[in-house]
Subunit: 335 residues, 2 copies
């Protein structure tokens, strides 16, 4: 009789591992490159690619708006999109905790397959390992991605210029707050879902409209504040954000006010911060607004020469504070 | 004062994550592609590549002959080598358990850097996450690798032919037994080290000598028996191994006899099973014997037409038994 949960034997590399792969993975990810009898997949590729990796350890593995599987696919897609690369191939390695139910595993895999299909990326390499109860936490996923570069030169902080506009593709803090709510029960649940989404389509639309993208980042762990600070440091320019221009959903702001959290440091998994020439900002926003993941895009600030290397927030009431990289850990295992 | 161990704050994505990366990763893996300000590395690449991924959860993380870091680099290199691809780029994502000491982390990273240097592969993408005490086991590593295909057509089971010779590049079972001994204290420690090694050099030497490689596998989890069974199934031919030709170190055989283990199902991390035309077998062995990782290479069997899809072992005393994929889990978390 088949066990209803993952057992250590499913990590043996033998028959039960094959069964695990054939029954749970193959039906969802079949493609010619995922050849079970080769240790590596063989891929045709263009001359220059982007390559990235991330580990995902989010807790809980299911949260409003996503799963650890959807997050893993989106995270890797968005890291590729951030350098102007079209995501093409994914690998995924799974560390399963003994006792994970097949139902949980399949729900995670379903969400991965659905997101990969939406984003037109193929899973071409995978691996599974099983650890004993208490040596993991249900499931950890590491994904790597290969993308085709579509922008030359690659968007990067050193291309930022004095006067550039800073855009964000929508409201911030939703992922961080959705996970926090899913994990704790210390306040009324506000209707907040993770923004977890694959964002290559947004970048593709901007490129089709010939928007010159100077720099781009996805504000995940550490949030908008960390990305602003890192962009300022790397460009040696000043990044100034206008607090009243930053889109924040009402329940996110309300929860942050109650809990003393700064929405600018909360993680996002479906947003991009995009730096474009000021003259292209309006057209870029028009393009973003037409896309399902960019409807609430805003211009939130500008790049200036001084003070060199600093990110500043101009508050609603006229004050200015320095935005810093997140220090310490307000919310562990957010992604 | 700096903590002497990894803390949850080192997973924040903010300042302490940057400190972790700058102090522990950069000094060991510096290269132009590992650009800290881009979410993906940009790589020049040839037209067809091999791509693979694996998770590593070996317990303990240090064992005679290797570490989880050396294992992760070798495992990915050997998966690429097995399809005839020269390993070029690696990514690594780390799941660190809170409380891991910097000394442990650095020893793991040192062994990764040393092995990557030996094998001339570059780490070009990395990520770190931290989980709470008890939600991991010191350190898990997932590596992905990109390699340049050097063999056309790619070695694969469907290229195997009746009469082909089956070679193994050295003694089997060493990794499995070394990890078992490192984990348990139920018998006298025999002098067995893991064979953990990067094997592209062996393949390169065979290719330089124009040996036609029909198929190739690295017998890791599940060991030689599982690989023999999988090769037979995939090729729809018979794979017959001669027990007295299979190199097994004396202490490995002694320990297996005492413990009732089958060395053919023990994991290897520095061996290849190589299928070549019978006429090329002697020359292939000559080439392998000149290489540090192939000194004890042997011809251990032949490919035949019948019985279709089965792997057989001819024993020293003249009997024959069917070799099967490992079923169940004699030794979990071996890699």
């Amino acid at each position: 009789m088949k066990s209803i949960v993952v057992t250590m034997a499913h990590g043996s590399g033998g028959k039960l591992t094959q069964e695990l792969i054939k029954e749970h993975f193959w039906p969802r990810f079949t493609n010619p490159a995922l050849d079970s009898f080769l240790d590596s997949s063989i891929l045709k590729i263009q001359k220059e690619i982007a390559f990235t990796t991330d580990a995902f350890v989010v807790k809980p593995i299911f949260f409003p708006g996503g799963t650890i599987g959807k997050l893993a696919v989106c995270g890797t897609i968005n890291d590729l999109a951030s350098v102007g690369a079209q995501p093409v191939y994914l690998s995924a390695s799974f560390i399963l905790e003994e006792g994970l139910t097949w139902k949980e595993l399949d729900a995670v895999l379903d969400s991965m397959a659905e997101t990969a299909n939406e984003a037109k990326v193929k899973l071409v390499a995978a691996d599974t390992k099983v650890v004993e109860r208490g040596a993991g936490d249900k499931i950890y996923i590491s994904t790597s991605g290969i993308g085709y570069l579509k922008v030359d030169p690659v968007p990067q902080p050193r291309r930022m210029k004095n006067g550039d506009a800073i855009l964000v593709t929508g409201s911030i803090g939703n992922h961080g707050l959705a996970v926090l709510q899913a994990r704790n029960s210390f306040f009324t649940k506000l209707p907040v879902e993770s923004d977890c989404a694959p964002l290559w389509g947004l970048v593709e639309a901007l490129l089709a409209a010939k928007i010159p993208i100077h720099a781009m980042r996805d504000p995940t762990r550490g949030g908008l504040a960390t990305v602003a600070s890192e962009l300022a440091q790397a460009s040696r320019l000043a990044v100034t954000l206008q607090e009243d221009q930053i889109p924040i959903d009402v329940p996110v702001q309300a929860a942050c006010d109650m809990l003393g959290l700064d929405p600018l440091t909360l993680a996002n998994e479906g947003k991009l911060v995009i730096i474009v020439p000021s003259a292209a900002a309006d057209e870029a926003l028009r393009v973003l607004h037409q896309h399902r993941y960019g409807r609430r895009a805003e211009r939130i600030g500008d790049v200036q020469c001084q003070p060199e290397g600093l990110a500043l927030l101009r508050s609603r009431i006229g004050g200015t504070r320095i935005l810093e990289s997140l220090s310490g850990e307000p919310l562990p295992r957010i992604c």
